[in-house]
């Protein structure tokens, strides 16, 4: 106890020292004035004192649990697997609940609220898309926003020049973004993890800079205004009607993305992604063409980003390069990281927390990115698996009581 107080006090003093010139002082060099904010010392001190205490406590607990799990390598058998199966059912109920609530929600909510929920659901799909790349395949893609931009500009430009509509643009943008992902992927995917991160970041920035500077095609920084919203079977809806319609479109997209991701997770290709993440060398030694697996992940991730890009353009009826900065990628990444790498439910939960919470807790809004950043660090330190640990699909041996079935199996093979 005394030891802890001493340690935390030292840390508090240290952080007061660190933050002093930035948090307490603010100098205006032109007016020659200094703005003193002494009260901040108190906040920093108290904050550092308690946070360091909690930090130490959890770090200790984490180290202890690491050690104990090393010790009992064996004793995990049937009991855990039953527990896991049960959990999967829980997930299904949770998903059902979310779905029902989400379907009813727009009937009772203001247009503004509906719009916030739409945004959150867009991030769910983006998160699920990036989750394929980062969470499953373990490829740290920091330029994900580029594919989102490709989708948004595809719709914006196709509509501007050729008058193409929302629905036809969706598959075009999806395919275009996916091919873009594969094209970018071909040269970069043989790079090691951290280099891949930097190169994708570079690509993301290049795409944004090209959008900004290639005025002739993209209309530069001023962007493309007046992008139409989807029409409901040719009927023009009012503002509120449009929002509700968009809400259901994105809800459908969320469901499709969720189901698709879940199905992929327990499939040949999904397993090869996870194997790739776990150990690339062993993965290749098991006969998996790692380049193909990576390209598939990249392409599919980009596909979702492209589709949501179209949706984004329709919702905001305006696209400009400003919407596609690196920090957009970072936000999507923090959703994946917070939710749990590879976990579908985790992504939904994380998108809910990170996008909705700041909207409702207004005092949080200013600190949003600060909290995002801190959360990413805290998650990596304490719970690198994310809020919801991804539960692997359980397989049981199909009962061999029906001989016909087996026979059928063999006959269909030939």
């Amino acid at each position: 106890m005394v030891e802890n107080i001493k340690k935390s006090s030292i840390i508090a003093v240290w952080f007061i020292f660190l933050s002093f010139p930035l948090v307490v002082l603010r100098v205006d060099y032109i007016d020659k004035t200094i703005d003193y904010r002494w009260h901040n010392i108190l906040w920093i001190g108290i904050g550092a004192f308690f946070i360091s205490w909690v930090w130490r406590y959890f770090l200790k607990r984490k180290n202890e649990s690491d050690k104990s799990s090393e010790g009992k390598n064996q004793g995990t058998s049937a009991s855990t697997s039953r527990f896991q199966v049960q959990k999967i059912f829980e997930h299904k109920f949770a998903l059902l609940g979310i779905l029902i609530a989400a379907a009813i929600v727009p009937q009772f909510m203001s247009t503004y609220q509906t719009s916030i929920f739409i945004t959150a659901m867009m991030y769910v799909v983006l998160g699920l898309g990036l989750n394929i790349v980062v969470g499953m395949a373990g490829l740290l893609d920091l330029g994900y926003v580029a594919f989102y931009a490709v989708g948004a500009y595809t719709y914006g430009l196709l509509n501007l020049h050729f008058g193409l509509g929302f629905w036809i643009s969706i598959p075009i943008a999806g395919v275009l973004a996916a091919s873009f992902g594969v094209l970018l992927g071909i040269p970069v995917l043989r790079l090691r993890g951290d280099y891949l991160a930097i190169v994708t970041l570079g690509f993301g920035e290049i795409v944004r800079l090209v959008l900004e500077n290639w005025d002739v095609v993209t209309r530069g920084p001023s962007g493309i205004p007046g992008i139409p919203k989807p029409a409901f079977f040719g009927v023009k809806l009012g503002f509120a009607g449009n929002m509700t319609y968009l809400f259901y479109i994105i809800l459908a997209l969320v469901v499709i993305a969720m189901v698709a991701t879940r199905r992929l997770q327990s499939s040949r290709i999904g397993r090869s992604w996870v194997a790739l993440r776990e150990d690339e060398i062993a993965c290749q030694a098991m006969g998996i063409d790692t380049t193909k697996a990576k390209l598939a992940a990249f392409g599919l991730g980009a596909f979702w980003a492209g589709i949501i890009g179209v949706f984004f353009a329709a919702k905001s009826s305006f696209v400009s390069p400003m919407s596609f900065t690196f920090f957009e990628s970072a936000i999507i990444l923090s959703i994946v990281v917070l939710g749990g790498m590879g976990s579908v439910l985790g992504v939904i939960l994380a998108a809910g927390i990170l996008i909705l919470l700041p909207e409702y807790l207004r005092f949080m809004a200013d600190y949003r990115l600060l909290i995002f950043g801190a959360l990413m660090v805290v998650m990596m330190v304490f719970k690198p698996g994310g809020l919801i640990t991804n539960i692997r699909q359980q397989y049981t041996l199909p009962k061999r009581n029906s001989k016909e079935e087996l026979a059928e199996l063999h006959s269909s093979e030939t």
Binding site: N73, S267, A275, C283, A285, M286, D289, L409
Partner: protein, 258 residues
């Protein structure tokens, strides 16, 4: 007996350092062959050169898959070599720790199956059939190594000996005709080692495959090998039956020093 793999003067140098020096040897059908030698003799380097992890500086590696034409495989990508029927385990266990035991084995089925994104998303009937087959085959392999009751556990939670055995099952899932085991008994206690030697012989007899192992446990090597190759400083210094090797003065010198 027919030869299944033949190397001709394969050499590997790392920036002037000769790790493999003109290794010429062959393995035959349904043999258990051991590759032994002191630490740093180049045994794992040899493995890596025939499984495509490294490209030999010179020399050729030729395989003779059953009922197929022979293929020269030096410098091929590892996944293609695995597809051709060579499978391996790793000295420093490389399982997919956050996947379940059964999934680890199912990953091994990857190169023998072909469903892709479309099939998985739309749950086509061919996808379902293939999945079911994968599950059955993988369970059968787990039964063979006595681990089917652990199928749902994460690989990282297994005991050391189980992890080594799971690596073998995973490699077998790729339907190899030649299985390469890199120190399969490392870290096992005497009982586990004994189970392992029975397993290796059983696999050879049951699956009719050739097994090459790198091993330091001489008792195991002498007991189950048909032939033994001895390496020292990147070179092959002796080959023969266990009895011949035990009495070979070159080998004794290599192990005990001058």
């Amino acid at each position: 007996m027919a030869v299944v793999l033949k190397t001709d003067k394969i050499t590997k140098s790392f920036g002037g350092l000769l790790a493999l020096d003109e290794m010429t040897l062959d393995f035959r059908e349904q043999e258990i062959v051991a590759l032994i030698g002191p630490n740093g003799a180049g045994k794992t380097t040899f493995f890596n050169n025939i499984t495509g992890m490294y490209t030999p500086t010179s020399g050729t590696v030729e395989i003779f898959p059953p009922n197929q034409k022979s293929v020269k495989i030096q410098g091929m990508k590892p996944n293609l070599i695995t597809e051709l029927g060579l499978a391996r385990t790793f000295q420093n266990i490389r399982l997919f720790g956050n996947m379940t035991v059964i999934e680890n084995v199912m990953v091994g089925r990857h190169c023998r199956t072909k469903s892709h994104i479309f099939g998985a998303v739309f749950q086509t009937s061919s996808f379902k059939r293939e999945e079911k087959e994968s599950v059955e085959k993988s369970f059968a392999l787990l039964e063979m190594i006595n681990m089917s009751h652990l199928a749902g556990n994460l690989a990282k939670n297994l005991s050391y000996a189980d992890q080594r055995r799971l690596e073998i099952a995973r490699a077998l899932a790729t339907d190899p005709f030649l299985l390469l085991l890199d120190e399969p008994a490392a870290g096992m206690n005497p009982q586990e080692t004994e189970d392992l030697d029975q397993l290796i012989v059983h696999l050879r007899d049951e699956l009719k495959i050739t097994i090459l192992l790198i091993e330091h446990d001489m008792k195991l090597v002498m007991k189950i090998s048909d032939r033994i190759f001895v390496m020292n400083q990147g070179r092959l210094i002796a080959q023969g039956t266990p009895v011949e090797i035990q009495n070979n003065p070159e080998v004794i010198k290599a192990y005990l020093g001058e």
